[in-house]
């Protein structure tokens, strides 16, 4: 009897956990196939290690109809242990700060790609500094609970927006981490309709020289966009970068070299408006570029930065060939 009860509980747990795994609002998102975000300590780290500004900002959107408390969780929030990037010795401190309230998103400097000016706009709801902490190594740390109403309501998203900034305030080690938005403090339980985005994506590529390990990020193309200008930094010429959309099988774009920015423009097709692009990054075959940390931004023809959503708006764009067959003249 007792044995049966355990089996039932186990099966029930699996069923409950499944949606959380499938739909969790994790950053990087499941469709992105990116192992970690990365931020280096700003004291001593070099941009050539793959972080141009030692700071990373993400925004979470909570649908306005969601009224319950929620949590922002960080995987491997500390700097040290197995999943971070060591330089000499662990000496780095990271400050995670969460903001809500007016201006946390709508302040123009909040939408920038450089941690300058009033990028920490809004009302700070929580903050914590992390150094080396074995208790948090490869574990989840939870901020919250937060009241959705404490975010900044943004009508276009019909959501309350929160901001989390990870600043590498000291040291020179690389902090590898992930975020998750959750209804629960002890597990990643997604909030229906919630999402996360950034304007500058700094992340770690897979340590793999197999081209089947493809990472993706998904900029959203809003109406009025005529062309985009992508900029990427310190890619170490590691593989191929192609842009995929519903009408674009794979437009090749240049990747940067060591400690270098490159940029390129790409006209936007009508069918791409209101959908996401798929920026695909294929690792280079052959010699492994190990611990490759990279930065990506994209802006429209007005120089306005575009969002990379963790869960691509409109879904992952799938290229659809369109065949025309006509008699040969």
């Amino acid at each position: 009897m007792r044995k049966d009860r355990y089996i039932h509980i186990f099966i029930l747990s699996l069923l409950l956990a499944l949606p959380a795994v499938v739909n969790s609002q994790e950053v990087p998102g499941p469709d992105e196939n990116i192992p970690f975000l990365i931020t280096f300590g700003r004291q001593g780290a070099e941009t050539s290690w793959g972080d141009d500004d030692f700071s990373q900002t993400f925004f979470f959107t909570i649908p306005k109809d969601y009224k319950d408390p929620f949590y922002i969780r960080i995987y491997d929030a500390d700097i040290g242990g197995k999943t971070d990037e060591l330089n000499n010795f662990w000496n780095t401190r990271m400050v995670y700060s969460i903001y809500g309230g007016k201006g946390c998103y709508t302040d123009p400097q909040a939408k920038g790609i450089d941690p300058t000016g009033n990028y920490k706009s809004g009302t700070m709801l929580a903050t914590r500094t992390f150094g080396m902490d074995n208790k948090l190594d490869e574990r989840w740390f939870t901020f919250g609970p937060f009241n959705p109403a404490d975010g900044e309501y943004y009508p276009k998203f019909s959501s309350n927006v929160f901001k989390i900034i990870c600043d590498g305030v000291s040291g020179d080690d690389g902090n590898l981490y992930r975020y998750a938005l959750s209804r629960r403090p002890d597990a990643n339980v997604p909030i229906q309709g919630a999402n996360a985005f950034t304007y500058e994506y700094t992340f770690r590529m897979w340590n793999n020289n197999d081209t089947s390990f493809v990472s993706h990020i998904y900029p959203y193309i809003d109406s009025g966009c005529i062309y985009i200008r992508q900029r990427n930094f310190d890619w170490d010429n590691d593989g191929e970068f192609v842009v995929v959309s519903v009408e674009r099988k794979g437009q090749a774009m240049p990747l940067s070299g060591e400690d270098q920015w490159v940029d390129d423009r790409m006209p936007i097709l009508d069918a791409e408006i209101g959908k996401s692009l798929d920026f695909r990054f294929y690792k280079k075959r052959g010699d492994l570029v190990k611990n490759n940390n990279v930065v990506m931004t994209v802006e429209n023809q007005y120089g306005e930065n575009l969002q990379f959503f963790s869960a691509p708006i409109g879904g992952v764009p799938v290229y659809k060939p369109r065949i025309t067959v006509r008699p040969k003249k």
């Binding site: 493809v214 009408e247 369109r322 065949i323 067959v325």
Partner: protein
Amino acid sequence: MKRHITYTAVILTVLLICSSGLYGQAKGSFEVSPVTAISSGSDDMAPVILSDGILFCSNRKVNPFLTKKNLEGVRLYELYFAPFDENGKPGKPVRFGSNLGKDTNIGPASVSSDGKTLYFTRNYIVGRKVKKNESNKLGIFTATRNGAQLTDIQPFEYNNPASNMSYPFISADGMYLFFCSDMPGGLGKYDIYMCENVDGKWTSPVNLGDKVNSADAEINPFLHSSGRLYFASDRPGGHGGLDIWYTTLAFGSWTKPVVLDDPINSEADDFAFYAVQGGLEGYFASNRRKYNDDIFRFATTIIRWSVCDTLRKNNYCYEFIEENALKNDTIDVRFRWEWNFGDGTKADGVTAEHCYSGPGVYDVSLDIVNLITGGIEKRQASYELEISDIEQPVIVSPDKIMAGENLVLNAGESNLPGMDIARYYWNFGDETVSSGLEVSKIYSLPGKYNIQLIVSSKPGTGGVVREVCVCKDIEVTADGN
């Protein structure tokens, strides 16, 4: 009496012996009707179309005083002229050339294109009784038309009282005189001969040879403006009795004669074919209604369509385009488009071309190969391509031939689903026509000819006959280049 028998023998021998044909053209492509206005209870035959009427010969009864008989009391043949009425139809016939001979058969005849010279058949002995054991065969004579009078009657220089010389036909240019004779040295009972006018003199008669003449009888030569020589023959291969055949002179030799189909030819005797310039209408003689010979009018039922679709070539070649890839120009080397055409063949490229072997339904699919990963994305798009032949009558023939060359035209590849085909009509673009699934045609003159193929169905519901037309240009060259 004897003279009459002799003449009749010549005529009837020729007519009866020949149990097969004259001209041969197209089954069902003509309508035939007796010319009642000139019919008599006697024999009416050998129509010649003039500008203002029809000249023919007849042994009809006129009245007891005027009916022409020989001295033995046998009715004789003489020429009659039936003027066209305002509708172009022959009216009441009147005697023609009554001064051409007394107590003798006169006719058939032929008239030069300027209308001034009459070539006619007449017995050699005129105006007296034929003696016992004396033969009175037929010879060819000419007369000059001078107003209403025919004067200056002259015998043809190659007349020979020992042989029959008859059925003269003078070509439109006056350069050739055809006639028939049982003279020694011929190939059959009655052969067709030809003389050429060289410096105003007729050359010696030349037998047209075994392509035209047979062991049987060939009579009633008629050289049409199209270059066809029509004649009547009772040779095997016809419909019965005399039939109308035609042949064409090509590079100095006559082509194998072709027999005209019904309704011009019948199981009875059909002969003395004479067509207007276009060949689409004319007259001939036949005894199909009764024992007597009657003159019939024929007219083609094939009209030339004023608007006829040009024959389109079936196209089995297609272009395959991946539009989305084509409009983005940076696909370059990272991906490869692989087309599977559904017939076991493949090609690479954002666009591709392929020619199929024929109609069918083909499952065209597109795979995209990622050249970075080597992965193949199968069937990223597919297209069911149904290729069918164009619904149309189809003319199968060479596009270019030489003048005088036998052109074979075939309609067997016509694609007209649901159409219960009754007839294939051909209009050769030179005012000649034919019918049948496969026909042959010889163009004498170089030029470009627009051939129409008109296909008609059997009557459907309510008796509706469906007709469709395609046309094709044929280039006829003088030298094959």
